[in-house]
Point group: C2
Chain length 385, copies 2
Amino acid sequence: MQNFTYCNPVKIVFGKNTIAKINELVEPGAKVLLTYGGGSIKKNGVYRQVKNALKKRKIVEFGGIEPNPTYETCIKAIRLGRKEKINFILAVGGGSVLDGSKFIAAGIPYKGKDPWDIIKSRGQSVKSAIPMGTVLTLPATGSEMNTFAVISKLSTTEKLAFGSPHTYPKFSILDPLTTYSLDKKQLRNGIVDAFVHVAEEYATVDLNTPLQDRYAEAIFKTLVDIAPAVMSGKKDYDARATFMWTATQALCGLLSCGVIGDWSTHGIGHELTAFFGLAHAETLAIVLPAIWKYKINNKAAKLAKLAQNVYGVRTGSTKQKAAAAIKNTIKFFHSIGMPTSFKDYGITQKETEKVVARFAQRGDVLGENGDIDAKAVRKILKLGL
Amino acid sequence: MQNFTYCNPVKIVFGKNTIAKINELVEPGAKVLLTYGGGSIKKNGVYRQVKNALKKRKIVEFGGIEPNPTYETCIKAIRLGRKEKINFILAVGGGSVLDGSKFIAAGIPYKGKDPWDIIKSRGQSVKSAIPMGTVLTLPATGSEMNTFAVISKLSTTEKLAFGSPHTYPKFSILDPLTTYSLDKKQLRNGIVDAFVHVAEEYATVDLNTPLQDRYAEAIFKTLVDIAPAVMSGKKDYDARATFMWTATQALCGLLSCGVIGDWSTHGIGHELTAFFGLAHAETLAIVLPAIWKYKINNKAAKLAKLAQNVYGVRTGSTKQKAAAAIKNTIKFFHSIGMPTSFKDYGITQKETEKVVARFAQRGDVLGENGDIDAKAVRKILKLGL
């Protein structure tokens, strides 16, 4: 096990009808920037519950944070927040709204010329942030219980992640009832997103971390087990509650304790969203199996464990079990209606060369061994065709 | 799943040679009350490492916090801390030192007449506490990552737990190397303590919490797997690191999310320590199997899951599997040299009547269903003879 530091101070308020607790969690005198997305919260009753819970507090609204939140949108909210001198941000929505709001929270007090520097520094330049709470409506990204945010810049077709200890939400309200209005694509994307978060922390080098491995397998197995009930679209409270808590746990930092993460699926996936507009989870579902195929020798030990402990594969060599893990994962993604190939989106190999060129230009290397360069990215993308 | 609130802000600094990080974690101008136990830290080098890391900070020492820390000892430290106007507490040792130090931290600023009120109120009367850090040297109680402390009062033969959001350590340093000097009894007690913490959160009512259940099974299984390597006494870093992190995780609040806890083993166990001087874990190892036998019908679903997912019992009815879980747990305790009967300590049924009388007098009821009264305690204690 490697040395590590772990601290996650987010207060999770979980369960049925918990949105009303906002009134206990936000200072009575706060001036609140209320951020949200495309307006679904106005249809499903969440907006009304939030407004009721905020009571007589001053509210400045900023709606319209899009999926894959953009610098261009968030900068407007940063200007608005500065002008209105808000002192609290309440983000209501899914991972995109939460991510955008973290950037807004860090951007408002930022002293530099352009808040994009925050992203470029990967969060290092964040010295403070406006305190923020969240009401999560889409289990997927884990943003509600971590410091991370991914922001896209339209003008340069970039999509980059940042994080800072200042961007932990003060609290996150997780009411599984809010997920009842999600459509199948959102549910499917959420399941895959959570699954791949765990994969990035688990399917790497084996550093003799049995507890962390079992926690990871617990999440994998739970996602696989509850997926049919979640995807059925039925109002199954226990399935939705388990899904919501599992997705939060998948990226709260716990699984990363003492291990080396991979994160190359995310690194490549972000570029696919930037260039082709695929949803985040759609990119992950193509790239993860492709990377596993490409690195099957490196990852054999962990993939074999995955096959055995999650998919119940009991026979075969380590390599055969590793191959079975990939096959079963693809099968699982397909079972919830998630494509795993570029061809499903009509994207050709020629088009994916843009992504290779970006890695070549940046000179980035990815993966737990730091050995995925532009050439390797080309090979991986071919495996996803 | 039940509604829940979860927040654990403790900063964990984990790994080899991390004690030196105290210098980054404690304010340079702090006046530190350095608390410890019987002096083992002076023999194993931990005391020297701590003193070196504290550099030129003002230090007031308070050693001699005993196993099952007493009100009578802690009150002296409270007086010392008040007199010396210390503003930070650094607790170095196992769960007893940490528990005692939490009481000292809450007791110093306590405005009431007698800090014992803090315990009597179960922590409700704590309005503030001196900030505290810990250096853990004995994996067992989880005190390093929770708010709880158990304090004994010699004058009244009482042993009671309290907790408050104010008594979370600011940081806890977990260096597995510090465990190399532990003796077999300490290691055995630590394993059983962690095991029973998980049992209290897991082997209760089945509320459809598959993720929490799998996390619990992950801890059980990890403890069972690493016990031989830990008990061998060898300097096996990975085994000790896993043991340390597993014991911390066992009572950090995560497993309690959305479930109903039992805690009757602890409730009865504390009285056995108070009356007979048994080590905490020794009491748990007698009481846990006895309660499971007494409540086998109530707990059958969860005990059968334990048998299947931890001990690999694949055949038999639910009741048979539940019985196998009890048998295997006793076998596991015996395998690490932990007795499971009163007779192993020469304690007779007649003597255990004192414990029954205490419950009768208090009128307490224990357990996840609130149905363990004094009469039930008598039956349970008989099953432990």
